[in-house]
Subunit: 347 residues, 2 copies
């Protein structure tokens, strides 16, 4: 955008109309996937996956419910919205190739703010090799609503569902858990401090990792690629968007099994542990219940342990048992307690 | 739902939580399409279209912008939301087989009101042979927001885009135009009357057709099926969601052609014409600019005229010309005027 007199430019969306807004914000999006036959510009997008099967997942994010624009930059929001959807595709052991993005915005948003949002969407599309192929841009009565569908392809023989875990399988998680939730606590606290003292310049450098996990999470495409390279197909998989407790319950219920998870095996970052002390929070509770880490939780047959044991990115946190044994956490004090879902609830 | 003491039951969504709400409202949805491999219940749905190409379209509807619940029953809203998306798939000359539905609702909605909405969604899915395979249900700060993605399949050799119209092609439209818009005017008027006199029982029987076109439109799958049976592939096609003016401009711009449309050929219902008189509106303006008819606007090679000339469902309303001739309406008085888009703008 040209800037007159170096002042930032604010263009009302009503000055342009729907079609011009869409043309403007999508002009920087290039189609890269060979599976994208026709992208934006017709009533529907067309894709060709040859003889592969097609995967689709949809998610909706509402301002004031899922995000707070007082501390989430629009660029990051756009990036994260895409990442959250890609994560659902990767958790099927599939690769994502296209997204459609529907947004509704109130009249407080300018063209420039939409550009910020789509800059983030485009950054995520580029990073993960995904094409934006369609969507809808409309007005809302209140706030910003983002609805994304992600489309991918897989071979049915390599699909991984929530329902395939078997007794004695190992339960594995990628990365570390709880940091995204803790990042949110820090941002919330700073927002309160700012209300009282707007002149205060907070030093957030020691929370950098936690805040990054909250504002700019990544989806674990690298792990899906790695699985392919080591010829590993997990028996079940889910992404951790709502918290470890909630996700392991999904796997156990869908697979009709029980599990023992070991508290001392749950991976946590140094930053999480030190800020849990500062906030007087139990780090296990945060790691179990905090969502939005977008790590992968999966189960593998014991014979496949050799394939992953040397990867620093994976933690074996427990094993699958009979359904009648229940869904348990074995605490550091060797007590067995039933895991209940403390995951994020939107109602 | 069981009704205690014959009183209607109202269940707060917060009493159930997200997963239970989703389980409850999707329990009546059955998978019927052989292309649906896995529907609701995992991180993503899986489809198998064999060697066909895949089509996807997404739309968002916002309460207070696209619909007004003071005169739109939730059942009809659910039905129409699906129909609007299917229409986009049909306008590519493709068949729709799956939808995902994301909704955000404020806390004024009860479980019973969501059931109403999903009853309508399910009715449309059944009527058009489409499976609901996924989606998201979350809360909003204000009102109801519905975002739908429709998925279908086609053979690339039968795809019809907006961009294929050629000079001398005939311009054809299905059904009649403007009635859905007129139905909205009648509902708006009744709403105002009701505000002044809530005891008034309006007699809307003479507007039945117009109101039905507004509240419960149908998508023209029958025409796509008919095209296949008569081996007709239009040169270009679009569905009329924003109004004839806006859609013919899309076809002409995308195809780099001009056109002459004939005012006296535009199909209108008797009911539209009589209520236009009553409302002192110009029926041509309503037919050109009123949206939401979900009829199909398409162009055919002149040699294909024989194939459609006996169908009462089609009206030839003009022909394609050189781009430099412009996009024109030839009025009943034989005057040529440039068509400008008066279509629905959301900003």
């Amino acid at each position: 955008m040209s800037k007159k007199n170096n002042k930032p430019q604010f263009t009302k969306l009503s000055e342009l109309g729907e079609f011009e807004v869409i043309n403007h914000i999508t002009k920087d999006f290039l189609v890269k996937n060979p599976s994208t036959v026709y992208g934006i510009g017709d009533d529907a997008a067309v894709m060709d996956f040859k003889n592969k099967q097609v995967v689709i997942s949809s998610d909706m994010l509402v301002e004031g419910i899922h995000f707070n624009l007082s501390y989430v930059p629009l660029k990051h929001l756009g990036y994260k919205s895409v990442v959250a959807n890609l994560s659902d595709i990767y958790s099927m052991n599939a690769i994502c190739s296209q997204v459609t993005v529907n947004i509704a915005v109130s009249n407080r948003f300018t063209l420039e703010s939409l550009e910020e949002l789509y800059f983030g969407i485009n950054a995520a599309c580029k990073k993960y090799g995904v094409d934006l192929v369609g969507g809808d841009t409309t007005s809302s009565n209140k706030g910003l609503i983002i609805s994304i569908s992600a489309i991918g392809a897989l071979d049915l023989k390599s699909i991984v569902k929530r329902s395939g875990a078997k007794k004695n399988d190992l339960i594995v998680v990628s990365g570390d858990l709880g940091s995204a939730y803790m990042g949110l606590q820090i941002l919330e606290r700073e927002k309160e401090v700012f209300k009282v003292n707007p002149g205060n310049q907070p030093d957030l450098s020691k929370y950098k990792y936690l805040i990054q996990r909250q504002l700019k999470p990544e989806a674990r495409k690298d792990i899906i690629d790695y699985f392919e390279s080591i010829k590993l197909i997990p028996t079940s998989m889910i992404d951790i968007s709502d918290g470890l407790s909630s996700e392991i319950i999904h796997i156990c219920k869908n697979s009709k099994v029980g599990c023992d998870l070991y508290e001392d095996k749950i991976p946590m970052s140094e930053e999480l542990m030190s800020s849990c002390e500062e906030f007087n929070l139990n780090s296990t509770t945060v790691a179990l219940s905090g969502g939005e880490d977008y790590e992968l939780l999966f189960t593998i047959d014991q014979k496949d342990f050799e394939k992953i044991k040397n990867s620093p990115d994976f933690s074996v946190i427990g094993h699958i048992t009979d359904q009648k044994k229940g869904i348990n956490l074995v605490t550091k004090a060797k007590q067995k307690i039933t895991i209940t879902s403390q995951g994020w609830k939107s109602f």
